[in-house]
Symmetry: C2
Subunit: 340 residues, 2 copies
């Protein structure tokens, strides 16, 4: 089969890779309907994260079940399924508490590489959620978004306790930040402040439910949030970038007693203890337990209540994956969808 392999920073190729096969009786093989390039794929692309040799890429996916292992009981060939970037058993104590990304048996899908024609999904019963029927083509991008960016933005908004009566600030205008705006809206937030200086992204943020746009960053951004909230700061802040500046901007944009949900992968970030102590906020984040939210999100997508697939502004055949990486790296695209 064809699949994306990163050989070095900036060097992404689509190559022949071995067809995946059932390795454990809990596995399923899916034919990938659509995959995409994640903001986190840009870390190794930019050389920030070290590559351990040539690496198959991709951890977001939707597809059709082709084959299931002997222990798989809830899935059958022909079903359309969505999974998340952590495979999880969905039965352990951590999963049952809603933290499937911390499952005691979790498997990182990045080790599988879903930017390909086929993919092996470990722990298939726990990981994959099927739709009642194979959905129409125009819903594929939405379901694909649920696999990571929507689920992650949603988790960030939940971690920030976005809800009725709340003012929510969102730091980061990538796909996750934009979908955190959508999530905050769905969760009933009263006011949603998107922090963005990119006009097309501001526009999408507004369409997703942002009531205010703040273009300032860092201390100026914090001051603007304070201005907009009677000097107090936001009740809820989503951090969807992962830099030192964005984390401190998020923490200091929240009011005392407020909630910060962070989902940007925090490379080279170091939180100063006294500043965190003085902020008196709630901080929660990490790899999103997308599986927790999949049934609800898939329902909202299926009945067309939300349209998270709009974050895909570049749609390419798999063989042109390198262009998709480049466009995201140069911020010409918010998110690239790849069709095998």
């Amino acid at each position: 089969m064809r699949g994306v392999v990163m050989h070095a920073p900036g060097d992404v190729r689509v190559e022949d890779r071995p067809d995946p096969r059932i390795e454990h009786p809990g596995d399923a093989i899916i034919k990938v309907s659509a995959a995409c390039v994640c903001g986190s794929d840009l870390w190794p692309y930019r050389g920030v994260e070290k590559l351990d040799g040539a690496t198959p890429m991709g951890h977001e996916y939707v597809g059709i079940v082709q084959e299931v292992g002997s222990e798989v009981t809830t899935l059958k060939p022909g079903q359309f399924v969505v999974g998340s970037f952590w495979a999880s058993d969905n039965t352990c104590e951590i999963c049952r508490a809603g933290y499937q990304s911390g499952c005691v048996h979790r498997v990182l899908m990045g080790t599988v590489g879903t930017q390909a024609q086929y993919a092996r999904i470990p722990l298939a019963d726990g990981t994959l959620v099927a739709t009642p029927e194979v959905p129409p083509a125009d819903l594929i991008p939405g379901y694909l978004a649920a696999s990571d960016v929507l689920g992650t933005g949603w988790f960030a908004a939940v971690a920030a306790e976005a809800g009725p009566g709340k003012t929510v600030a969102v730091v980061g205008d990538g796909a996750v930040g934009l979908l955190a705006v959508l999530a905050a809206r769905q969760l009933g937030a009263e006011r949603i402040i998107a922090m963005s200086r990119h006009e097309p992204r501001q526009q999408l943020a507004r369409e997703f439910g942002a009531t205010d746009i703040v273009t300032e960053r860092g201390d100026e951004g914090i001051a603007r949030i304070k201005d907009l909230t009677g000097g107090l700061g936001a009740h809820s802040v989503v951090e969807a970038v992962g830099t030192q500046e964005s984390m401190m901007q998020a923490i200091n944009s929240a009011r005392h007693g407020g909630h910060v949900g962070f989902v940007g992968v925090t490379h080279d970030v170091s939180l100063p203890g006294l500043e965190l102590f003085g902020a008196l906020v709630h901080l929660h984040g990490g790899p999103a337990p997308v599986r927790r939210f999949l049934p609800e999100l898939m329902q909202l997508i299926g009945d067309r209540t939300i349209d998270p697939g709009r974050v895909f502004d570049l749609d390419l055949p798999l063989d042109r994956a390198a262009e998709g990486y480049q466009a995201m790296d140069e911020r010409r695209a918010i998110k690239t969808l790849l069709r095998p």
Copy 2:
């Protein structure tokens, strides 16, 4: 009047200071029944925190109202009152959300110096809570504990979401850590693991409700907590020290999705972003909003349900304050009560 003044690290004196007087119409003057030395008073005593010249000390207090300003409406002379280390109006939006230590009009009582015969309490209506009657002498230490260490330990346990069915680990065996054990017990925790290597403190922890004692620290301490929790980590962890090691011990002792409540003042602490991201915990802490809990805690003390005053294992007249500081610095005393 007589009052404690710190002149330099290790140099604590009891001196004549001016009698406090009403400065703002919302002030009250109290005759201090008892004050005490806080673990945080040891930071400047040890030279870790810089002193800005000779400094009146003390921010914990109970006493009898002597005089009230013209705008004070809820208090009258003769009442026995407890306050916290942050004076707060208890009416602003932050106070109403339960974060009085982040009150928009807050005043740090450390600037007043309550290790003295009298003290001026700003924002008296918001800050002070009166008992129905002047309590018997044996309850004074308990009420004094409510002023900071009990309220802080309680907040830490609440921030860590201690409650029924939960396993709670407490890092730190000072007065705050020990009272977090008591709080976790009152909040209904199923299992409470106190981390302490000091026999008398282990004993008090057990009396306050600890079910297990762990003497290991750092990575070994984390491994012990994992052993005791089926490899998962505790649901709730209280951090009541404030060092790099204790913070990381707390964060890594919690399970994925678990809650860490931190109240140790985090000097020289720096939280590595990727480790925090990977931990996937809730982190909440800072200066405790003790005022939120005072009515409930004073009730529990008044009806003798809890006896937090047991953390005071050294009881000295105010004039011997220097001995009290020294004993705590050398860890010969858990906490020193001072009687003016």
